[in-house]
């Protein structure tokens, strides 16, 4: 019995690496510390009531943000481990298997568990406030989205200590990831973790489309909407049309692995190409899903900090929409060299280049928004400038990759690695950081320290170029992606070493960011006005952080930049409080069910990972029961009495 238990444990838990044992210890210690703190300060109830059961978009946004930053840490540590291994030739810091696992988790985590929750955090925080709404269209579904993401990410990350990490690359191409060549449970963690969080993403897409189409303040026509909301709309349209393809790709591969089907196997008539098509039909739109909101953020930041209207609003809207449509027509550029005919390659190559046109227009418009403005050099504008610069050059190498004959040479080389990191870090992350610094006071009621932020900025930025410019060179030297080591005579040593230095500089930048946040929690400048940046859109018309109901009175919107125009006319929401009587406010109820339902999804997922069918069945049954309970629910909202609204506004100094 004991022997069997021992054998089970040695398969169940990941063993053999000192690093893993250290992480095990760290995980146990941190968990104990969290449990102890929550118990000691009697915070369990608070956690449940205020956070786990919340359906408030602002809190869900904050939870998304915290998760995204944690995942940025994990993905970043993965990156540093890889760069350490590659700093010098023939190193044995990581072995082949371990390296393969790490690049797989790095890619998956960064795109799906860092970039996605990060954009969702900003969607949640900014969109309802910008629209003059009291919440999203489906607050309950919003909570489900978050918890599905959370448990999906948890399941995926669990593979680090239990069962073993996936090792098939973040695209997880079959037939490599089929059972014969990848028998371990790691790949199952990948499939189920992504599947569960993917359901949440689709729900978020639907939620925000309806929110934007239906919940705008009176008078806010679509063409008067802040550009960030437009970018969210564009992004969500891409989400709802792209994510189902991922769902199917993952589902079919899972059926292959668990039921012995032959969708993508080498035998039985399977066709691996089909997976690759399905994956990229989602995969390429996915990068626009994460970059479009960044474009929106930049439009807000540039206008606000230039104290000027955004230049070419209509062009901006048009370019967002063009990008979201053309993004569906470019997927095959991920495999020009997979035997497609010259005609097919030309079509997808040219379609990919066309994306460059609306993107270029946006850059011009941002510059001309600054032109004849008053540009305040704050952290958001720093990151904006960094983003435009980096993304412009990233776009340039993107056009090179879209030029089919060049792709014939640099495909899957470090040139490609450098390119997509330049667009995904230089574009998405820089843009999201601009948004983070911009909306931070609205989220938490205080500003982040500028000095520490600038240290972080410079370390991260310079580190970025030091890390990735040499990788373009490595691509020209013929270094392919995903190699865990290289020979000393390849001539790649100096560039790799430089790149590693850059990666560590970015790590230092991240530490500065953490220090900045911790420092600012205690000493950061408090925002008492609700409008620390002299903003233009409605989120700055309410206190920071916004009260539960956001707006005591929904403002009537007449122009673009509604809040700016109100200020020009000497109006404010405080006046509205005096002019109009307070009325009861209709708000959704908190609910623990989204959490519990997602927990059941997690249980089902965990069972399926190890082919423990009973556990999968229990989980799915739990999901079904919670869904029926939800269907039976008839009253999921309440009214905040007028007097309470009045009291709360008075406490905020607004009445």
């Amino acid at each position: 019995m004991l022997d069997r238990l021992k054998e089970f444990a040695s398969n169940f838990f990941v063993t053999g690496e000192p690093m893993i044992y250290m992480s095990d210890v760290a995980i146990v210690l941190v968990s104990l510390a969290i449990i102890f703190t929550l118990t000691y300060f009697k915070k369990w109830k608070w956690l449940w009531r205020e956070w786990i059961t919340t359906v408030d978009h602002k809190r869900i946004g904050i939870m998304y943000l915290i998760s995204a930053l944690l995942m940025l840490f994990r993905g970043g540590v993965d990156a540093l481990l890889m760069r350490t291994q590659l700093a010098l030739p023939n190193q044995h810091f990581l072995d082949a298997q371990h390296y393969n696992e790490i690049f797989t988790t790095h890619g998956t985590i960064m795109i799906l568990f860092m970039a996605m929750p990060f954009i969702f955090a900003l969607f949640n925080i900014a969109v309802p406030l910008q629209l003059g709404a009291r919440d999203v269209a489906f607050p309950y579904l919003n909570a489900i989205s978050f918890w599905m993401f959370f448990f999906g990410a948890l399941l995926f990350n669990l593979s680090f200590v239990i069962g073993g990490s996936p090792d098939g690359g973040w695209m997880s191409y079959p037939p490599l990831t089929e059972l014969p060549t990848d028998p371990g449970p790691g790949e199952n963690f990948y499939l189920l973790g992504l599947q569960i969080s993917g359901i949440g993403s689709i729900a978020t897409g639907i939620n925000f489309i309806v929110t934007i189409l239906k919940m705008r303040a009176p008078g806010m026509k679509l063409m008067k909407m802040p550009l960030f909301c437009w970018s969210v709309l564009a992004s969500c349209i891409v989400i709802i049309f792209a994510f189902p393809a991922l769902t199917i790709a993952l589902l079919l591969l899972m059926i292959d692995r668990m039921a012995g089907a032959h969708f993508f196997t080498m035998t039985g008539g399977g066709n691996p190409m089909m997976y690759i098509n399905l994956f990229w039909v989602w995969g390429h739109p996915e990068v626009y899903i994460v970059i479009l909101p960044a474009f929106g953020i930049l439009s807000e930041v540039v206008a606000t900090f230039s104290r000027k209207k955004i230049f070419g609003y209509a062009s901006m809207v048009a370019s967002l929409m063009v990008i979201s449509i053309v993004s569906y027509l470019v997927w095959a550029h991920h495999y020009f060299v997979m035997g497609a005919s010259a005609g097919v390659n030309s079509f997808f190559g040219v379609a990919s280049m066309i994306i460059g046109i609306p993107t270029g227009v946006k850059i011009f418009n941002w510059i001309f928004t600054m032109f004849r403005g008053r540009v305040r050099m704050t952290l958001p504008i720093y990151w904006t400038m960094a983003m435009i610069t980096c993304f412009a050059f990233g776009g340039m190498t993107g056009i090179m990759l879209a030029a089919v004959p060049i792709d014939y040479q640099v495909h899957n080389s470090y040139f490609l690695i450098a390119h997509f990191h330049q667009t995904l870090i230089g574009g998405v992350v820089f843009g999201l950081l601009a948004g983070l610094y911009y909306w931070w006071p609205k989220m938490f009621g205080f500003k982040l320290n500028e000095r520490l932020g600038k240290w972080a900025f410079w370390f991260f930025n310079i580190g970025f170029y030091v890390c990735f410019m040499p990788q373009y060179a490595l691509g020209f030297m013929g270094m392919t992606r995903r190699v865990y080591t290289y020979p000393a005579d390849a001539g790649w040593t100096s560039m790799n070493f430089t790149s590693t230095i850059g990666a560590y500089m970015m790590g230092v930048g991240f530490i500065f960011m953490v220090v900045q946040i911790l420092y600012s929690i205690k000493y950061g400048e408090r925002d008492l006005t609700g409008d620390p940046w002299d903003g233009r859109t409605l989120e700055w018309s309410v206190p920071s952080p916004a009260p539960e109901y956001n707006f005591a009175h929904i403002p009537e919107v007449e122009e673009r930049d509604a809040w700016w125009e109100m200020k020009q006319k000497g109006q404010s929401l405080v006046q509205l409080n005096h002019q109009k009587p307070f009325e009861p406010i209709h708000m959704p109820n908190n609910s623990g069910r989204p959490f519990i339902m997602s927990l059941f999804f997690f249980i089902a997922g965990f069972g399926l990972v190890f082919n423990w069918w009973w556990m999968g069945a229990v989980g799915l049954l739990g999901v079904a029961v919670t869904m029926v309970l939800r269907s039976q629910e008839r009253h999921d909202s309440h009214y905040i009495p007028a007097e309470e609204v009045q009291r709360s506004e008075a406490a905020l100094g607004r009445f």
């Binding site: 060549t181 035998t267 005919s341 010259a342 510059i367 030029a403 089919v404 080591t485 560039m495």
Partner: protein, 297 residues
């Protein structure tokens, strides 16, 4: 202000980095055959065409941000409500359209050109099979096979016909140009050619499992006489590759270089068919091969 010169200093340092890097080997920037050269010229062209727009734009960004930065007593103009200009917008929808149009035209032209053999000469065929984690090269015309290295004659188009008897990989010789995936069950064509005798490094470019990093191979380009001599030598000194030998070879392992005087005639076809070749559009590729084996232009 301090921040701007810091940026400049950094850019300078970066430039130096690249200058010092020039002593390294850059096979992509030093093409050794007509295919790689075509691709290299395309690279130069797009760099210039995109660069002439993007570099000035980024400079403009910094100039504008600097000129209109918020400071006391700024004399720069301030027009907070100026937000539209039909002509300006036409210009910057126009510029990228023109640039993309040029690049797109060249791209399409070159993409179609690369379907054909680089020169009007009788090509030599090499069948390539990627295995876990090694490369098998079979020469249908010469009847020999090699592992992890190949010899090819110079000044003569090489037609690689690629497949895989393992998870997907990709075949790449940076100096000679072009890349193509190796897909189980599919036979795909890649044209290549070497100008000068020399040894070039080839790579497996798509992750295919644990020891994927070990999947490089050598390509020895030599004159036709030397190549013929080499073929004779292989035929007379090396053992034959049997079906059993292939079964052993295709197991997961990392091996060194080796060569075989012969191999089972239908080996390549069997590999294709056992991995679902009957369902793949191989006939199309094969016919295309026949059709284009002789240069059409």
């Amino acid at each position: 202000m301090k921040t701007w010169w810091r940026k400049g200093l950094f850019l300078g340092a970066l430039g130096l980095l690249f200058l010092t890097g020039c002593s390294e080997k850059y096979p992509l920037l030093d093409p050794q055959g007509p295919v790689a050269r075509k691709e290299y010229h395309m690279l130069l062209l797009t760099t210039i065409l995109t660069g002439i727009v993007i570099v000035p734009v980024v400079i403009l960004l910094f100039v504008v941000a600097f000129r209109y930065r918020d400071r006391p007593n700024s004399k720069a103009a301030y027009k907070p409500d100026w937000h539209e200009s039909k002509w300006l917008e036409i210009i910057w929808w126009g510029i990228p359209v023109i640039i993309i149009l040029i690049i797109a035209t060249v791209t399409v032209k070159e993409t179609f050109a690369l379907q054909y053999p680089p020169e009007k000469k009788e090509p030599i065929t090499v069948e390539v099979t990627s295995l876990d984690w090694k490369w098998l090269f079979t020469y249908p015309e010469q009847g020999i096979a090699t592992v992890n290295y190949m010899n090819i004659p110079t000044d003569r188009p090489v037609k690689f016909v690629l497949t895989s008897d393992a998870p997907i990989n990709a075949f790449w010789i940076p100096s000679l140009g072009g890349m193509q995936y190796t897909m189980p069950g599919m036979a795909m064509r890649l044209w290549s050619q070497a100008d000068e005798p020399g040894t070039y490094i080839g790579k497996g470019a798509n992750f295919s499992g644990k020891h994927f990093a070990k999947m490089s191979f050598k390509v020895n380009a030599q004159s036709q006489e030397d190549f013929d001599k080499w073929v004779e030598e292989i035929k007379s000194t090396k053992p034959a590759l049997t079906n059993e030998g292939y079964a052993e070879l295709s197991k997961q392992s990392v091996v060194g270089e080796s060569a075989y005087s012969s191999y089972p005639e239908d080996l390549y076809m069997n590999i294709l068919m056992k991995n679902g070749g009957e369902y793949m559009p191989n006939h199309w590729m094969m016919m295309e091969n026949q059709k284009t084996a002789q240069p059409t232009k």
